[in-house]
């Protein structure tokens, strides 16, 4: 049997050693012996750890696939000095394509092109797939059966999200949609 200090040390070390997120259940299964510690104790310890690291240079965050330690976001600019390569900057076209898949998923490439008014380059789709942010989840049952794209858990993890709902909504509330009436009230001013 472990005492609470040992349990905390073990979970802390596990999360430090494993860069991919781990859930409370995974931690219980992988580093604890069967029946040694309750899931509730694991969860309580994780909360304690989150508290311990609140004012430190690294923090314990919960993302879609579990808990992980990461460096504080406000240190990003300084820490970038550690690496030769500059952090990636994505083009407007890539971000718009990603936004369409995030907010309008599942969506076909044709639908993305229709909204953006421009053909989607293959390299953008390839980059998004190679990053593991998007995946094909099926085909749309229309002529040509185009593939439907959606976001992955890795996308949520990489953007520090637990669910898509945490992103701000992009649709203007219904009462502000006055397009039709506004047009009708206008005269041609040319």
């Amino acid at each position: 049997m472990m005492n609470s200090t040992q349990l905390k040390q073990l979970l802390e070390a596990a999360l430090f050693a494993h860069p991919q997120p781990l859930t409370a259940e995974q931690l219980q299964q992988l580093v604890l012996n069967a029946g040694e510690t309750s899931l509730a104790a694991v969860k309580a310890t994780l909360q304690e750890l989150q508290h311990d690291y609140q004012e430190r240079g690294i923090e314990l965050v919960k993302v879609a696939s579990g808990y992980r330690f990461q460096t504080r976001a406000d240190l990003g600019q300084r820490l970038a000095g550690l690496w030769q390569e500059k952090p990636p900057r994505y083009s407007q076209a890539l971000l718009e394509t990603l936004a369409l898949i995030v907010y309008r998923q599942p969506i076909t490439r044709g639908e993305i092109e229709q909204i953006r008014g421009v053909s989607v380059s293959s390299s953008i789709m390839k980059t998004l797939q190679e990053r593991g942010w998007i995946k094909v989840v099926g085909v749309k049952e229309v002529p040509g059966r185009p593939q439907l794209y959606a976001t992955t858990a890795e996308f949520l993890d990489d953007f520090n999200l637990q669910t898509l709902d945490e992103l701000p909504a992009i649709d203007v509330p219904e009462d502000e949609r006055t397009a039709e009436t506004a047009i009708n009230e206008r005269d041609l001013n040319d």
């Binding site: 070390a13 999360l15 430090f16 050693a17 494993h18 860069p19 690294i58 992980r68 330690f69 990461q70 460096t71 504080r72 976001a73 240190l75 990003g76 820490l79 952090p87 990636p88 994505y90 083009s91 407007q92 076209a93 971000l95 718009e96 990603l98 936004a99 369409l100 995030v102 907010y103 309008r104 909204i115 953006r116 008014g117 421009v118 053909s119 993890d157 990489d158 953007f159 520090n160 999200l161 992103l167 701000p168 992009i170 649709d171 203007v172 949609r177 006055t178 397009a179 039709e180 506004a182 047009i183 009708n184 206008r186 041609l188 001013n189 040319d190």
Partner: protein, 270 residues
């Protein structure tokens, strides 16, 4: 609603290009940079609208169409490689313009027939996606704003690969697969037998490795009872039948000796 600051069109030799240059002469490479700055015709259209600090729902279609077409014409004049998508948008704007200039049919329903409605709807959807792209870009991102653990651990040294798991079912399934192959290819018969007989056969062979002869009676022990005796007897019979052992008896009723059959005996010159 409208953006107050001008968005730079692009950068030429480090200098931001905020407005379309007024004079007609623009270095072709500069315009190319400008063109690359837009992510597509919707982006260019949205830029033209925002530049005039206008709400999307208030767009003066005729002005915007003229500006857009001028822009595209200029690019064409400079023989820049212009994506077809820009021309498609120009055609769409031209069509809206022509419909607006046509006299309205008296019974026409104004709301549905307004050719601007579809354009406004598309611009609103595109603007929403632009917002979404901004929200996503503003999110703290792994590898850009924060990094994951790269600390050292000796734990991997303790990792062992467990041997494959095999169940009894795996073995019996494998055996029935083999049986089915036999059925397909062979005619020979194998008589009924006990697995314990098979195991006893192995034991007898093993014993005979150590000693060249064993007394028949040594293979029967009281503790095994009648069933054990039957197993030993069947094992011996089977081994004899498979020519793996031979039995010798000096005289009737004397002890029988068992030894491994040596096939090369007959060729033995000695």
């Amino acid at each position: 609603m409208a953006e107050q600051q001008s968005l730079p069109l692009g950068f030429v030799r480090g200098e931001p290009v905020v407005e379309k240059p007024e004079d007609l002469y623009i270095p072709p490479d500069a315009l190319e940079v400008i063109l690359e700055t837009f992510s597509g015709p919707m982006d260019l259209l949205l830029y033209l609208i925002r530049r005039q600090k206008l709400d999307i729902v208030d767009i003066p279609v005729l002005t915007i169409t003229r500006q857009y077409v001028e822009y595209v014409e200029m690019m064409k004049e400079l023989k820049l490689e212009l994506a077809a998508d820009y021309l498609v948008m120009a055609a769409m704007l031209a069509e809206i313009k022509s419909r607006l200039l046509l006299p309205k049919a008296p019974q026409e329903d104004d709301e549905e027939a307004d050719p601007r409605a579809e354009l406004v709807r598309r611009l609103q959807e595109y603007e929403a996606i632009r917002r979404g792209a901004e929200y996503i870009d503003a999110q703290p991102q792994t590898g850009r704003d924060s990094w994951l653990s790269e600390i050292h651990t000796d734990a991997r040294e303790y990792v062992t690969t467990p041997p494959p798991e095999v169940t009894l079912e795996d073995i019996t399934l494998a055996f029935s697969r083999v049986l089915q192959t036999i059925k397909l290819q062979a005619h020979h018969q194998i008589k009924r037998e006990q697995l314990s007989t098979r195991a006893r056969m192995s034991q007898v062979i093993e014993l005979l490795q150590e000693k060249s002869y064993i007394s028949f009676s040594k293979l029967f022990t009281r503790s095994e009872g009648r069933a054990g005796a039957v197993v030993s007897f069947l094992a011996i019979l089977e081994l004899v039948k498979e020519s793996m052992i031979e039995l010798t008896q000096m005289e009737p009723m004397s002890d029988i000796h068992i030894r491994l059959k040596r096939q090369h005996d007959e060729f033995d010159p000695a």
